[in-house]
Symmetry: none
């Protein structure tokens, strides 16, 4: 009678181990031994379930992306059809973490962003995720602009600004949280959007 398979559970454990360790040490200094410890597993087991340390990172990045998308979709579903509400839902889903939801996830995402700078495979996933957010947000913004009788022309640029602001909020939350006024990020982003909407040329 073969032992029941538990590969998936183990993979989750290991990914969570990397998440925990990477937040406080970064990727390079997250040793396989430390990941194993955080996952309450033996070091040897790590390489049974993952071919390499890099593979764990890639799985983690994908998981972080998927988590965001799940939360975003849930909030959008609840938001109804009004463009403004939908934009708020998107921003809330994105900022939930940046605002302090789970510090480990915030820290890990910042590390992922830095790794995306150099590891091609991380970069690929990261870009795909950012591109998807950019596209989705662009659509939402365009709907909003049209609702206000404006041209949708600047939507993409505006979306880029919003995403930059949110990614920057993550970075600041991870590196200098005590400098920041509470809850500054969402209103700032909203100002950016409203300011742009009002100034946009008519259709």
């Amino acid at each position: 009678m073969p032992r029941p398979r538990n590969t998936e559970a183990r993979r989750e454990q290991i990914i969570d181990g990397l998440l925990a360790v990477m937040g406080e040490r970064g990727y390079e200094r997250a040793t396989v031994a430390a990941i194993a410890r955080a996952a309450a597993l033996s070091p040897g087991l790590i390489h049974y379930h993952f071919t390499s340390k890099r593979a764990i990172l890639l799985a983690l990045v994908e998981q972080l992306v998927a988590r965001f998308e799940a939360r975003r979709d849930a909030l959008l579903r609840r938001a109804g059809n009004d463009p403004k509400d939908r934009i708020d839902a998107f921003v809330s889903a994105y900022l939930a973490r940046g605002a302090g939801e789970d510090p480990a996830v915030v820290a890990a995402w910042v590390v992922v962003g830095a790794e995306a700078t150099r590891q091609p495979e991380v970069r690929a996933i990261y870009r795909r995720a950012i591109a998807a957010r950019l596209d989705a947000l662009t659509d939402l913004l365009r709907a909003r602009l049209r609702q206000r009788g404006r041209s949708g022309r600047g939507a993409k640029r505006l979306a880029a600004g919003v995403i930059a602001a949110i990614e920057g909020a993550y970075q600041l939350a991870a590196a200098a949280p005590e400098l920041l006024p509470a809850g500054y990020a969402a209103p700032a982003v909203r100002q950016m959007i409203e300011g742009a909407t009002e100034r946009a040329p008519p259709r």
Copy 2:
């Protein structure tokens, strides 16, 4: 007739070596050997001029901060006294790099931000720098709000939003440049500021 001292020049060379290597490999993978190669020096010499690799990083961080401040001061001096112009000068000085001025500097600053997450000494310098920018920008924004007859209350939160947006622009520029519309950042930041100014309550 001793050999003339050249420590300062050598330190610069080494810092530049780290800047170059770190941009493409990150701090951990910027080996001392690679730094030496980039600086066209022998590896042993690195440790003659710096006590440790970390010390080079700290020197680099301080240099990056100083460079920004020098550029900002120069632009502010040229900007005159109008609050709006001064804010523009500040943002331009900050974004000059984000916009692509020197990709190595952009990449390095992103790495510094990530390292600030974990290395206490880097964090200290990083925080001091961010705090200084926050204070300076808050003052500029407050002047602008008053000029328009508004309360200066929200100035600090707005400043935090602007800085987040700019730091995020660095991150995106380093990790996903080809996704971004050209020159999106400055207008987005301007929208954020104008939106907030107009919506701010009267004094």
Copy 3:
């Protein structure tokens, strides 16, 4: 079916490796590579079982101390109750090494004595060992003095002299063995004790 644990055996091997190498090279020049070679292990394994080279040294020092104490206790148990016999047993146990029992141990102990001069952790163990010997020998000498109807006053100073003579015998055995007459040490120590006993004031 995990590989059976063998940490203790490996640690012994490594300690023995240091013992062998240190005797002929001293501690500093006993490189980890050389220790590994002497222990017939790979260099990396050394640091799997010990956190640092210093940790091996500390383990070795403790082992040397324990070895002496085991031999001393064994001889004392055999010696019976006569104070003179017990003193002889103590001195024999101590000098067994000095007299040439195991040259590697003699040499290592001399190195330990020199390291105790500077490494605080070595010094702590060394002192504790010397203090214990001093106390034990003082008790033995006091019993002997009383047996001869003398005051036990000078016992501690005499014990210090005996221990100095034995430690010195180690040093000379390690550095200049061929200069020394065979078997000089035990009689010399005995003379020291007898001379002092006879000259001690009555109780």
Copy 4:
């Protein structure tokens, strides 16, 4: 007009530098830079005056030996002709340092003893010095034995015991000074000598 030669003074400075540093760090860890600092000279100058670090050590050892011999000769000259007084003079000269005269010299001599264990050139000087002390002391002891009407047979073995006791006193003074009763060494050595003298067979 050539600069006046100062080689001898410089060599002394450097030797003193090694003396100071070696006492607290041992020979291996006494870096040339540290020696230079202790000597208030530049590192490069060290190798102008000595071909190697080892050469400094050899010079230091020779100096320590010479210093002892000078003091011993001075004390012997003052001691007159009585064998007992001459022996006392010898022991005093030897122990002066062990008793705490100059801790740096004591510490350095202990390091020299340990180095003699492995460096052939140090060993050669060390042995010659010990052999000379052994011979000289043997003569003194023989005179004393004859004076008391005893056979001089055991003189050499006794001398070895005395020298071991004194060398051991150095070791203990360097590594565990606070454990030792004040002024224990000289009386203990005297007991050793008197005990042996009285027990020696008649001529």
